[in-house]
């Protein structure tokens, strides 16, 4: 046999990576690991910016905008948070808002993905429905919220309704474009191997569109938070929006900022949770480079 028979094997057959078992010396303390995390540039930059914002807020509140009806230092907001936590109010408001966000988002995700797939796969359905989807997507939510409250009453149902209506369209629209953008070759492969229509949806369309779906959910999270606040401003007896509204009415500016801070944290936490889910689901994509 000629020696050049398998030149490619030589280049290709790298030994696959296998995880090494941790030696006792490698089992490091929690502090050690935290310190290592802080040394990573992305973590370090987030931490520095957080410290600057906290310090800036405190300084501006204490020495620049000193009118307490206008702005308050962060320490006052934290005191308000502690006070509200002590009375149990804060927990009630957080729970009420999160319940509405949770139910509303769950409905949006299920309906948005299901109908997005149908709209993406069927030109006929899209022709009949696309114009309404676009109209509702662009509709300012404040225009519909009062109507929903009239229909569904004051309480969790109307809030869920508002959250659903505002958060479903980004998911629906990006799922639709994800399905439409599926590489034609992927469909050919499935058909060539005899896939049924149901199998094509489950094994090709959904996984191929998944990155788009997740982008849609990311947009939807931000809108869901707006939605729950709007719902609570118009008609509610609890929730972070309700807390903000009543604090404004009573000039309790620290409590007002406490509500805003909770909403900001909710956005960060939900987005972070989605990133964790995304990392698990879309593991097959090349990892982004980190410097």
């Amino acid at each position: 046999m000629s020696p050049q028979r398998f030149p490619e094997r030589v280049m290709d057959t790298v030994t696959p990576k296998r995880p090494q078992p941790a030696s006792p010396a490698q089992r490091i303390s929690t502090w050690h690991r935290l310190w290592h995390a802080v040394k990573r540039p992305r973590v370090r930059r987030s931490l520095i910016s957080l410290i600057v914002v906290i310090a800036g807020w405190e300084i501006v509140g204490r020495y620049v905008l000193t009118n307490p009806l206008f702005f308050v230092p962060l320490s006052d907001v934290i005191l308000a948070l502690i006070r509200l936590w002590g009375t149990g109010e804060l927990q009630t408001h957080i729970a009420a808002s999160f319940r509405a966000i949770g139910y509303g988002m769950a409905l949006s995700i299920v309906f948005g993905i299901a109908f997005g797939i149908v709209m993406g796969a069927s030109r006929t359905v899209a022709d009949y429905t696309e114009v309404y989807v676009n109209a509702l997507y662009a509709m300012p939510l404040v225009a519909i919220a009062p109507l929903l409250i009239l229909w569904l009453g004051i309480g969790v149902a109307s809030k869920v309704g508002v959250v659903f209506l505002i958060s479903v369209f980004p998911i629906l629209i990006s799922t639709t474009s994800g399905v439409r953008n599926v590489d034609k070759h992927y469909l050919d492969v499935a058909r060539a191997f005899g896939a049924t229509p149901v199998q094509i949806v489950g094994k090709v369309l959904v996984p191929a569109a998944l990155p788009f779906v997740i982008t849609g959910i990311r947009l939807a999270i931000g809108r869901a938070i707006v939605g729950v606040v709007v719902g609570e401003l118009f008609g509610a007896t609890a929730g972070l929006g309700f807390l903000i509204y009543t604090s404004g009415q009573t000039f309790d500016v620290p409590a007002l900022f406490a509500g805003i801070l909770c909403l900001a944290i909710a956005g960060v936490v939900l987005t972070w949770a989605l990133q964790r889910v995304e990392m698990r689901l879309v593991r097959w994509r090349p990892a982004p480079l980190e410097d």
Binding site: E8, T15, P16, Y186, D188, F193, G194, L210, W284
Partner: protein, 271 residues
């Protein structure tokens, strides 16, 4: 390891008067294939060679059932074909692996669609993966593989449905010359080990001569069968077979036929 349902030498695939005309939306039509008939025998390595654009992909898609012919029919193992199915294993021109599936799950994809037992699928797929030389890469994702390795997975996926016939559409066209030659040798070895019938398409004449038991030369505009040539080179064919006079004769024979279909003079060819 795999039993052929047809004895060697019997007709495996019969192509009967296949024609294909595409109709444009605004009227007007393009006849891509005209009156193509031939037979592929069981266990045979049958290669179709023809210039780019002569309708090779269109033809193979008809055999796979992805497109319907405008005329004629295809008979596989005695049964007329309607639509796609796992009795044929298709190797696509671009590898088109699913990026969200690792090597193993790409290879099991076809069998998974047939709802066969998962454990049996996996065992069979692992055998095929080691047959194509990708042992240890079962858990890797396509983006972690080189072009040559991806094409090996593409081959393995087609073999893994244990088809009656393999349909290959220029599977090595996008590989560099060295890798391509290595893959040709590998393919011949795998086909011999699995005793499969292969219908292979290429626009590279030397690839056709290197691989084929018989070559069907396609002419262009419209795509049609010019002639079938027996390749009587002994096997195994190693790379140095390319320097033998008989290899050169066969290449020239094919080239002359293709040149004729273009209305060119064979003498005008650079060596």
């Amino acid at each position: 390891m795999i039993e052929a349902s047809t004895a060697p030498g019997e007709v495996k695939l019969a192509v009967q008067e296949i024609g294909k005309t595409f109709h444009r939306r605004g009227g007007g039509s393009l006849t891509v294939l005209e009156d193509i008939s031939f037979e592929v025998r069981a266990g045979e390595f049958f290669v179709i060679v023809g210039p780019s654009g002569c309708g090779k992909t269109t033809f193979l898609r008809i055999v796979q059932g992805l497109d319907a012919p405008s005329a004629g029919r295809i008979v596989l193992s005695g049964q007329p074909l309607h639509g796609p199915g796992a009795d044929r294993g298709f190797v696509f021109q671009n590898d088109s692996l699913y990026p969200w599936r690792n090597v193993l799950r790409n290879v099991t994809f076809g069998a998974e669609l047939q709802r066969k037992k998962r454990a049996a699928n996996e065992k069979f797929a692992r055998d095929i993966i080691s047959l194509v030389g990708l042992n240890g890469f079962e858990g890797h994702y396509p983006h972690e593989l080189s072009g040559g390795m991806r094409q090996r997975v593409n081959l393995a996926r087609a073999f893994a449905v244990d088809p009656d016939i393999l349909l290959m559409d220029e599977p090595f066209a996008s590989l560099d010359a060295l890798t391509r030659e290595a893959m040709q040798q590998e393919l011949v070895r795998i086909v011999a080990e699995t005793a499969k019938t292969v219908l292979f398409i290429t626009h590279q004449i030397d690839e056709a001569v290197m691989l084929a038991d018989r070559i069907a030369v396609f002419g262009t505009r419209p795509g049609r069968l010019m002639r079938i040539i027996d390749v009587d080179l002994p096997r195994p064919r190693l790379l140095n077979v390319k320097r033998t006079p008989r290899f050169q004769e066969l290449v020239d024979q094919v080239w002359t036929l293709i040149a004729q279909s273009h209305g060119l003079e064979a003498e005008g060819r650079d060596p």
